[in-house]
Symmetry: C2
Subunit: 418 residues, 2 copies
Amino acid sequence: MYGEIITIGDELTSGRTLNLNGWYAAGRLTAAGLKVTRITSVGDNYPMVAEALERALENSRFIIVTGGLGSTQDDKTSEIVAKALNRPLSLDQKMFRLLEEYAKARGLTITSSLEKMAWMPNGSRLLSPEGRACGFCLVEKGVRLYFLPGVPEQMRYLMDKVVIPELLSFYDEIPVTRSRILKLYGLTEPHIAEMFRELEDRTGDVVLGFYPQFPEIHITLSLRGEDEATVSGELDRVEAEIRQVMGTYIFAQGNESMEEVMGRLLVDRKLTLSLAESCTGGLIGHRITNVSGSSEYFQGGIVCYSNRAKIQLLGVKEKTLEEHGAVSEATAREMALGIRDALGADLGLAVTGIAGPTGGTPQKPVGMVFIGLATGDKIFAKGYRFWGTREEVKQQSATMALDWVRRYVTNNPFLPGI
Amino acid sequence: MYGEIITIGDELTSGRTLNLNGWYAAGRLTAAGLKVTRITSVGDNYPMVAEALERALENSRFIIVTGGLGSTQDDKTSEIVAKALNRPLSLDQKMFRLLEEYAKARGLTITSSLEKMAWMPNGSRLLSPEGRACGFCLVEKGVRLYFLPGVPEQMRYLMDKVVIPELLSFYDEIPVTRSRILKLYGLTEPHIAEMFRELEDRTGDVVLGFYPQFPEIHITLSLRGEDEATVSGELDRVEAEIRQVMGTYIFAQGNESMEEVMGRLLVDRKLTLSLAESCTGGLIGHRITNVSGSSEYFQGGIVCYSNRAKIQLLGVKEKTLEEHGAVSEATAREMALGIRDALGADLGLAVTGIAGPTGGTPQKPVGMVFIGLATGDKIFAKGYRFWGTREEVKQQSATMALDWVRRYVTNNPFLPGI
């Protein structure tokens, strides 16, 4: 089942806006076993939109179009479609009533620009009759065309609630397609490529994909087949083979993030965590607290950018800073211990390093980062050398620190350092 | 000067990867005054890539193609181009030598998959003869085609260093196009739309664009003209008009972020900042420390997710927490004062609130956030009600807090709260 996506808007072709809608639609269609052959972005103008529609009509069974359905002057999709497909605009009574209600609720009178949204190409069907989002569907030469708004929330709502279920019901001859994601951290690409070769004759028809998502690497397993049970069973088998080879480098299956995995493990074990961040500047705390419910295990932390903060808030000894420097294993240990005790948490996690681009020395270059973890009875600390920009060094430090907690809690060794 | 962008890769049409390359190329071309009419994403397969190339050749003066130039089996762009344009592959000696050196430096022997990267369609010219990135250019029917790797760093390097300068030198009949960005925070879209109407007869030929970048709003001013001086002069005039109407809501011109603006202002005034974050969980510190050199003014902070952390590390009174709650104006004041004194900074900035989705009450709903700022002689505090997801509430709280510092330092009033 082949289809295309057309995203409309000058903000896309001028590079002002990232094409999140195209990405989202493609991902959801693929996950549903529908194949997207092309994503085309064009500006809000007749010839380009019309050409894209005509071309897509030749090759596709379905077409998803986003953008240009709003009330402003730039929003010309309905008009363009009317002309390109020779389906004059007519007033959709239902939509008009919805717009009247919308205006009334806000004490407004309905303007011509608002009314515009109720004019649709002949033969269109409103996608959300309850008025949650504008958007319509029409069938042309046997091809189903879905026109969705460019507002991401509305577009996503209609994709998930209307478009995907409809497409699946119309094309139920689709064989089952299933895919899953394994997330890895700590292996380099050449390493994984080598492991893939090792696995070659054990993966059957499962297609393996390989997607670096800095600093993680994601592996996808996909399989098409006749029925759900066979497909899932075979994916289970191959996943087990991969797990055997890649072991504890796999930190998640599916969409769970490192901070979610870590949080889940801490909740399971009823452990609390406190945090002392230097070079990451708050990033680790930010990531941890992106997880709803993190207050259950995360007690808080300290961002100790200055030596003064390290001494005063964490009790790092002046002598340690003088002898070993702020970026050192010794300081990481004292920071971890200091924050654990200051907040009475089960675990104290600390990071100190040089994010760059300035501040490096031959002995302590940019990217050198020490991680410390104080537990009930032991303090661990180790140094790493990361590469990249300031933001990349921060991200790697944060992921490594979170991975330390994951590995500690699951009794796995930390990744080797420098 | 019209051109197109073609991005190649199954990871794009399947929605696994965001099309960052298309976005980047479109943005850079537009900024250089070159118009992009279409961005097409297709998978790594002959018919789709060939069709995209043929279509683009009919309509464009230049074509940027990204992806499929690496050494893996998926990388088929050179092969496809060779076939589609009838330009058989031949071995580029220069590229082959570069690859040999690359392999030698790593103690590897050159493999056939590596060698593949040196085979290019007849008539191609290497874009980076010094070997910084693979990529080639060829001219077909008067159209310049640039083939760039999918690796973002390499692609961006070649776009900026080679492609844009070359295109500008070839097409120097381009009239001058200049655009600039003004970044706003604190105004709603309807507000700005109203202000735009007010400005209508004062903007001459300058085209105004309006781009929400949550939680900021960016306004673009663009103008084409015959010469640099006239175009810049007119943009200056219109920018001044806009500034008159939008005043202190404009926090930056160009690419500067809120945290960079704040940092620059603190450096100018030789002020230091400390931070107490509750609901933002470290996000503000993360954003501040994304700016290189932030250690000059940022002393550090505390992430006080628990009451215990607020009491122990910041000296917030238990009584205050009992009487007013952790999310209150009184607590925000004490947090700000506490962190200012703990670190001996000039300014203490504090945020406490309910990020959601859980934890809200009728009196203190999700999205209620208090900001506090302790200065040399005064403490300010105020509550805001933000809307959206957990991440959105965090982002708005962070931006508002940074804006407080900007407004305090420039003697402007804080934005009104609840």
